[in-house]
C-alpha cells in the first residue's frame, strides 16, 4: 500500500466504545489509517473509555483514568473523531452518513459499533425521578449525585454481573443496598446453583440484601413523582429512594433497522463471519450491536475485540473470520473472585462434575469433565487463582487428576499446577487470543525480558488484564529456562551501555562518533552509519565532556551536527505539523517588562502562538524553520539566549520570590535559582534536567518534584534529588541539609556529573536513583562522602563546562554556513514549506495538518487560513 496521490477512500466508524477503539487500533496496525480517511462519530461526550472497569469510578478513578483513547494515537493517525455527535441516518444507496450536527460523510466502508443499551423492564413508573441505568460515565455521575443528595436506600434490579457492581457502588456511596434478581440465584448466566449460593453468602456478609426469585412489578412514587419503593412479584413492597436498572442489555441496532439492514429476531445486526452485514458489502457491524454468524450477540469485550480485528483484516483484504467465541470470564465482584470458563454449565453429553464447596469460606469450585477425562469447563467462586491455568487447559486432559485441581493447596491432595504445565497452543490471553507459544516466542525470539515488553510485543494482558499473573510466571519461567543473557547494549550498534561508552570516551579522549563506532561498535556496525538511538546518545556524551576531551562545545560543529536529534539540529522544538517552537531562557523565571515586551513583539510580528510553560518561561509556537534565525537574531539582540527546551539538558530552575518580597521567605531563592540556571545552562545530560528553588519550607516552587530541588532553611539550603512530575511522579529525596551557598553548588556539581556519567540514555534522575545499586545511600556516599574518590574529577568536569559555555543561538546567527541549514527547501531557500499551515483558535493560531493526502495542501478558503506570518 503505497501512500501516493489519488482519491482517499473513507472509513466511517459509528460508535467509539471499547470495540470501536480496538477497531481503530487494528486499522492503524494494518496501515489502513495511512491509506484511508477515517471518521469516527461518537455519541457520548467523551472518547472510548474502559466500560468494563466503569465501577472503579466509585473507588476513585476519574473519567480520565478510565479513558482508553490516547489522543496522540488519534492525532498521529489522522483520525477525525467527533464526540457528542452521533450518526443519525445512513443512506446506503448514496453511501452517506449524516450526524446529528448535520455533518454528512460519504463512506466507502461503514462500520457500526453502536454497542448496546440497558434493558429496562416495562414496569409502571420506570422513568420516575430516582430511576437510573448503569451504562455510561454520565449514568454514574447522575447516580452519584442523586445518592449523595436524595437517598439513603437504593435497590438494584438485576443480580447479574453489572447489577452486583451497581449494588456494590451504591453501598460504597453509603446507601443501604438491595439486589432484586428474577432468577433463583445471583449471576445466573455465569454460575450454577452451588456457585450462586457461595456468592450469596459472601455478598450478604457484606451487608447487602439479596432478593432472588422475585420480579419487579411496579415502581412506587410519591406525589412529586420521585421513587419511594417498589412492588415485587411475591406481593411484598421494598422501600427505596432510588432504583438502578441493571437487567441486561440489548443491541443498539436502530440505525441499522432504519436503513434497511437485516436484524435478528431478538435484535442485533446480522453479519457474516467477516462481520460484514448480510445485506450490504460496504457495511460492517462489530461488538455488542452485532448478531454474529453463529447466531449469538456477544456482550463481552474479548469477542468484540476479535470482531474488530476481523473487520479490520477484511477491509485490508486479509483473511479473517469470527465464528464464535469463548464466554470465559473472570471478575472480582465486590471483592469476590468469580470465574467461569468453557462449558461451565455442563451442557455436553455424558459430562461429569467434580465439585469442591466450602461454605464457611465462601469457596465453590466446579470442573466439568468429559467422557475421556478432558476438561470441558468450570466455575470458580471465592478463589479463582487457578483460572488462567484451567482455562488454558480446557479441551485437554489435565496432567493431574481433576480432584487435585479443585482441592485447596495444603490439604494433602491439592496440586498447584503452574503455567509450565500448559501446552504451547494453550490460549493465555483470550482478549487478544495469544497463546503460550507466542509468549514464549516473545522472550526467546524477540528478546523481551519483562512483562511490559511482552505485553507490548504480543498484546497479551492488555485487554481485561486477568492473565497478567500467568503472563508474569510464564515470562520468568522462560527467562530462567532459556538462561537468556540479557543484552544490555545501548542499541544494535553498540554492545556497551551508555555508562560504559561514557567511560571509554572520557578515558580515551575519543571525540568523534565515527571513531567510537569504528573502534568500539559491534562487529557488524563498524564502518556503518550507526542509528537514531546511539547517535544522539553519543552526541550527548561528547557534548557533556566537550572541553575535557577536546571536542567543540558547539553542537552544530562538524560531525556533531549530523548526530543531533532534529530538535537539537534546529535548536528548537519540532511540532506535529513540521513547525517549531522557540523558548528563550528566563533564568529563575525572572523577566523584566522590557524583556516581556520584546517576546510579545516577536510573537506578534511572526504570528506565533504563545503559552506560559510550567517552567516559568514563555513558549512561542508555529515558527517555520527559515524563521528561526530571524526570530533569534531579535531575541539575542535583546539579550536573550537559548533556553535549551529542545535539548536533553538543563531546562529551567523555577523559583518563588523568596525572602526579598515574601513575608515567609528565609533565603533569596530567586538569586539562587538564577545562579544555578546560569551555572548549568547548556549542560547536555542523559535526559532533561529540571530544578527549582523555594525560599522557605512552604515550598511554593515545588522543588521536591525536580531532578534537583533546593529548599531554603533558616540555616542555609536543603538539597533534594531525584524528583519527578509527569507520568510517574516521584518526590525527591533529601540528599543533604543546611548547606551554605558554596556547599550547595559543589554538591550539585558532583551530583549532576555523577548522574551524567552513570545514567542510561533517556533515564531521568528519578529512575536512575531507583535503579543504581545502593540507590540514594550509594549516591550520597559517592557525592557527599567521596567514597569512590572521584569528586575532584566530577567538580573539575563541571568547572570545564561552566568555563566553556557559550550560547549556541548567538554562535549560530553569526555563522553563515550554519544559517544556510535553516531553510525548508535546499533548492528554494525563500519558499516556506506549504504543508505547514495554521488555522485560528481562541485569538491565536493552531496547526492545520492536511492528513493522509500526500502532496500539496489543497487551496482552501483563504479567509480562514492564517499562513503563519504572511497573515499580518
Amino acid at each position: 500500500m503505497t501512500a501516493t496521490l489519488g482519491a482517499t477512500p473513507t472509513i466511517v466508524l459509528v460508535g467509539h466504545g471499547m470495540v470501536g477503539q480496538r477497531f481503530l487500533e487494528a486499522l492503524a496496525e494494518r496501515g489502513l489509517t495511512a491509506t484511508h480517511r477515517v471518521v469516527v462519530l461518537c455519541e457520548e461526550p467523551r472518547p472510548a473509555y474502559d466500560r468494563v472497569a466503569l465501577t472503579s469510578y466509585f473507588s476513585g478513578k476519574t473519567p480520565e483514568d478510565l479513558s482508553m483513547t490516547d489522543m496522540e494515537f488519534i492525532e498521529t493517525h489522522g483520525i477525525e473523531l467527533f464526540v457528542g455527535d452521533p450518526a443519525e441516518t445512513v443512506d446506503r444507496e448514496a453511501r452517506k452518513v449524516t450526524a446529528r450536527s448535520g455533518q454528512v460523510f460519504e463512506y466507502d466502508v461503514l462500520v457500526l459499533a453502536t454497542g448496546s443499551y440497558p434493558f429496562v423492564p416495562p414496569v409502571p413508573n420506570k422513568d420516575a425521578e430516582g430511576c437510573f441505568v448503569y451504562r455510561t460515565i454520565e449514568d454514574l455521575l447522575a447516580i452519584e449525585e442523586y445518592a449523595k443528595t436524595r437517598a439513603t436506600t437504593g435497590a438494584v434490579v438485576g443480580g447479574g454481573l453489572l447489577g452486583l457492581e451497581a449494588a456494590g457502588a451504591l453501598k460504597g456511596l453509603g446507601l443501604t443496598s438491595h439486589i432484586v434478581e428474577f432468577a433463583p440465584r445471583l449471576m445466573p448466566v455465569q454460575v450454577d446453583d452451588g456457585g450462586g449460593a457461595a456468592l450469596l453468602r459472601t455478598i450478604e456478609d457484606m451487608g447487602l440484601t439479596v432478593h432472588t426469585g422475585v420480579g419487579t412489578q411496579e415502581i412506587i412514587t410519591d406525589e412529586s413523582g420521585a421513587v419511594t419503593g417498589m412492588k415485587l412479584s411475591d406481593g411484598s413492597e421494598l422501600a427505596t429512594d432510588m432504583v438502578v436498572f441493571s437487567a441486561g442489555v440489548r443491541p443498539r441496532d436502530q440505525l441499522a433497522r432504519d436503513c434497511g439492514l437485516t436484524v435478528g429476531e431478538r435484535g442485533g445486526i446480522t453479519v457474516d463471519e467477516q462481520c460484514r452485514t448480510v445485506n450490504d458489502p460496504h457495511v460492517f457491524a462489530i461488538g455488542e450491536c452485532a448478531l454474529a454468524a453463529d447466531g449469538r450477540v456477544y456482550g463481552l469485550v474479548a469477542p468484540g475485540y476479535e470482531q474488530a480485528e476481523t473487520a479490520a483484516a477484511t477491509i485490508a483484504a486479509d483473511e479473517a473470520a469470527f465464528t464464535g467465541a469463548d464466554l470465559s470470564t473472570k471478575l472480582k465482584l465486590l471483592g469476590v473472585d468469580v470465574a467461569s470458563f468453557g462449558d461451565a454449565h455442563g451442557a455436553t453429553a455424558d459430562c461429569l462434575d467434580v465439585v469442591y464447596a466450602d461454605s464457611r469460606s465462601g469457596v465453590y469450585k466446579k470442573l466439568v469433565i468429559g467422557r475421556d477425562g478432558e476438561l470441558l469447563g468450570g466455575i470458580l467462586v471465592g478463589d479463582a487463582e487457578a483460572y488462567g491455568t484451567l482455562r488454558a487447559l480446557t479441551g485437554s486432559v489435565p496432567p493431574v487428576s481433576p480432584e487435585q485441581l479443585v482441592l485447596p493447596a495444603g490439604s494433602g491432595g491439592g496440586a498447584q499446577l503452574g503455567p509450565s504445565a500448559l501446552p504451547d497452543e494453550a490460549v493465555i490471553c483470550s482478549c487478544h487470543n495469544v497463546t503460550k507459544g507466542t509468549i514464549r516466542g516473545a522472550v526467546t525470539e524477540h528478546k523481551c525480558t519483562t512483562v511490559p515488553e511482552v505485553k507490548k510485543c504480543t498484546k497479551a494482558g492488555t485487554g481485561c488484564g486477568s492473565c497478567v499473573k500467568v503472563l508474569g510466571q510464564l515470562v520468568n519461567a522462560e527467562l530462567e529456562a532459556s538462561g537468556v543473557e540479557v543484552d544490555k547494549g545501548l542499541c544494535g550498534c553498540f554492545s556497551q551501555t551508555r555508562e560504559e561508552l561514557y567511560e571509554i570516551v572520557l578515558a580515551l579522549r575519543i571525540n568523534t562518533y565515527q571513531q567510537l563506532l569504528d573502534r568500539y561498535g559491534r562487529e557488524g556496525a563498524r564502518g556503518g552509519d550507526g542509528c537514531e538511538i546511539c547517535k544522539p546518545a553519543v552526541a550527548s556524551i561528547i557534548a557533556s565532556l566537550a572541553p575535557t576531551i577536546g571536542a567543540s562545545g558547539y553542537v552544530l560543529e562538524g560531525e556533531q551536527a549530523t548526530l543531533q536529534d532534529s530538535n537539537d539540529h534546529f535548536l528548537a522544538n519540532l511540532q506535529k505539523n513540521g513547525s517549531y517552537s522557540v523558548v528563550p531562557r528566563i533564568p529563575g523565571g525572572e523577566v523584566t517588562p522590557e524583556g516581556l515586551i520584546v517576546i510579545g513583539e516577536i510573537a506578534r510580528d511572526f504570528g506565533l502562538y504563545t503559552k506560559i510553560t510550567g517552567g516559568q518561561r514563555i513558549d512561542m509556537f508555529g515558527a517555520r524553520v527559515e524563521q528561526l534565525p530571524l526570530i533569534w537574531a531579535r531575541l539575542v539582540d535583546a539579550g536573550f539566549e537559548s533556553g535549551h527546551a529542545y535539548g536533553k539538558s538543563l531546562r529551567t530552575v523555577k523559583s518563588c520570590v523568596g525572602q526579598t518580597w515574601c513575608r515567609y521567605g528565609v533565603q533569596d531563592s530567586v538569586r539562587m535559582a538564577i545562579d544555578l540556571e546560569l551555572r548549568y545552562r547548556g549542560l547536555r545530560s542523559p535526559h532533561k534536567l529540571k530544578s527549582a528553588v523555594s525560599g522557605c519550607q512552604r515550598e511554593c516552587a515545588e522543588a521536591q518534584s525536580k531532578d534537583f530541588g533546593v529548599i531554603a532553611t533558616a540555616n542555609g539550603w536543603n538539597l533534594y534529588v531525584g524528583g519527578n512530575g509527569g507520568a510517574t511522579p516521584r518526590h525527591a529525596d533529601l540528599l543533604a541539609q543546611d548547606l551554605s551557598d558554596a556547599e550547595l553548588i559543589r554538591l550539585i556539581d558532583r551530583f549532576l556529573m555523577f548522574y551524567i556519567r552513570t545514567a542510561d540514555r533517556l533515564e531521568r534522575t528519578s529512575v536512575w536513583l531507583e535503579r543504581i545499586p545502593g540507590g540514594l545511600d550509594h549516591v550520597r556516599d559517592v557525592v557527599v562522602e567521596d567514597s569512590l574518590g572521584i569528586c575532584e574529577e566530577l567538580e573539575s568536569l563541571m568547572a570545564d563546562h561552566v568555563a566553556n559555555y557559550a550560547d549556541e543561538w548567538a554562535t549560530t546567527i553569526n555563522d553563515p554556513e550554519k544559517l544556510a541549514r535553516f531553510v525548508s527547501f535546499v533548492n528554494a531557500p525563500d519558499t516556506p514549506d506549504p504543508v505547514v499551515g495554521f488555522v485560528p483558535e481562541r485569538d491565536q493560531i493552531k496547526p492545520d495538518l492536511p492528513l493522509l493526502s500526500i502532496g500539496m495542501r489543497p487551496t482552501e478558503n483563504t479567509a480562514e487560513v492564517l499562513e503563519g506570518s504572511a497573515q499580518r
Binding site: T4, G492, D529, A561, N827
Partner: protein, 117 residues
C-alpha cells in the same frame, strides 16, 4: 544511487516520473548522515540524504504517519545493512533505497532515482 566521485562542483539530480534529470542543489550542500528537503516542480517534496560512504538517496519528504513534511530532518542509520531514516515525529524508520517503512510493512513512501552529476 551512484557513488559520488571526489569532485566538489557536482550537482545532485533527481529523476522525475521517468523523464529528465532535475537539478536540485550542489552536492556539497549535503552532510553525510543529515538530510535536506527539495521542492519539486509538481509541488511534491523530496528528502535527500548522503551516507558516510557518499552514496545518495531520495525519498518522499512527507511522513505518512504524522502528515508533516519532515523526513529530511530525521536521523539516518544502518539497520541490518540497509540505510534508513527515522522520522523525527514518532521515529518510524524508512528504508532509504526502497521507501519501505521498517516498522510497518503496510506503509511505504515514494523513492526517487538520484545522482551526482
Amino acid at each position: 544511487m551512484t557513488l559520488a566521485p571526489e569532485k566538489t562542483d557536482l550537482k545532485i539530480q533527481l529523476k522525475l516520473d521517468g523523464e529528465d534529470w532535475y537539478t536540485v542543489c550542489d552536492l556539497k550542500a549535503l552532510l553525510p548522515g543529515r538530510g535536506v528537503a527539495a521542492l519539486l516542480p509538481d509541488g511534491r517534496q523530496a528528502a535527500l540524504f548522503m551516507d558516510r560512504a557518499g552514496k545518495l538517496y531520495a525519498i518522499d519528504n512527507r511522513d505518512p504517519f504524522g502528515g508533516a513534511a519532515v523526513l529530511s530532518r530525521g536521523l539516518t542509520g544502518t539497520h541490518q545493512g540497509r540505510p534508513f531514516v527515522a522520522s523525527p515525529l514518532l521515529k518510524q524508520r524508512f528504508d532509504l533505497e526502497t521507501g519501505q517503512c521498517l516498522d510497518d510493512e503496510a506503509v511505504r513512501v515514494a523513492r526517487y532515482e538520484v545522482r551526482a552529476h
